[in-house]
Symmetry: C2
Subunit: 208 residues, 2 copies
Amino acid sequence: MTLPYAFPMKTQRLPAPAGGRPLRADAERTMRAILEAAERTLSRDPAATMEQIAEAAGVARTTVHRRFATRDALIDALAVWATQRFAAAVDSAHPDTAPPLVALYQTTANVLSVKISWGFAMSQASSANPEVARVYSEIRDTCERLLRRAREAGVLRTDVDIPWTRRVYYALIHEAAQSRDDQDTDALATLVVDTLLRGAGAPHPDRL
Amino acid sequence: MTLPYAFPMKTQRLPAPAGGRPLRADAERTMRAILEAAERTLSRDPAATMEQIAEAAGVARTTVHRRFATRDALIDALAVWATQRFAAAVDSAHPDTAPPLVALYQTTANVLSVKISWGFAMSQASSANPEVARVYSEIRDTCERLLRRAREAGVLRTDVDIPWTRRVYYALIHEAAQSRDDQDTDALATLVVDTLLRGAGAPHPDRL
DNA sequence: AGAATACGCAACATCAATGTTGCAACTACG
DNA sequence: CGTAGTTGCAACATTGATGTTGCGTATTCT
């Protein structure tokens, strides 16, 4: 299945450090490398040390500390970084305006492509960072609005509970993102949406 | 909905300590208290310290160390302890012999009741303990056998992928177990099975 | 080229969690 | 009742991760 429009994966700028002064190009590269290494390393072992992250990034541990004062600051930056991509992924699918079913597929595909690369960071929604929490909360609202639109359009049953459906939807995306055999995102999105809508049951079973 | 038979919640004995000598009654009580406190504490914060666990159990930290030599040993014991209950929960639902749909409901209800109380411990399936891994693997097989039986009985569509369906099933149980408003297990089980079988979609939507 | 910035390295300081030990007081159990 | 087992408490040892600093070298940027 080909989706109506592709998620623009343009390179994003790192959020400017709180210090104010802009980063030199090599420093920004290093910072990016650290964030990516942190994601890789922490997704395998959430308790990985700064040392391990530094090694995975190919830099010295002190360099990591130069860019991120504390471990918490690193994880927080990681969460912010991933959250921006998450928000962009949702946004570019026009979840509030596209036809519900189209929006559902598109959002799913976009989010999957982010989640596959930033799984650990996106599991940090319970971040102490209020900005991250705010974005997650907004996305949650957007998602539930979309589901409500879908329900009103007859895509969902009229008796479904929206919060529960949303949680199931999130869980399905999470599962799909775990698939080691990285199929293409569209196939996974189809699987997710299909499962969400049709479930696994036969159309007319003899239910108890 | 009333289920055909109840999951027998009889008190289980703690696995005898490797040391050989049986525990005195008060010591066994303490050990149980520690395990329960560990579950409570670690489910809120997986990085909680031995100190916090001890406090939650109402004992001194040294007492925790007397019963569980190391932190790993405690978590391992917790995993073993919960795994036994997990296995018992599945077993008592007769997943291999009861009619598929009945078995599905019953297993779901039983597992939910365990998972609600032992959520953290059951998330330690990736335990280093081979016994735990073995039991989880067996249960996974049992689950897939059940799903296959359900498919052959016409409860599931003939084209569903069993491993994916199982993962979705696990994910639904996980979500249901998170419901803070502890509804009764049967209602949650109904929700899980219903969602798994029917999904959230309307019966005859105009699909793209 | 020159100034500013970034990096690796080594060394050090800190700290919190873990794990250990000894002893006195208490409790289960025969 | 007496013994063996259990607990709390205080004190100590250890360790691994974290965070800091200074300096020489390398890189970027203008």
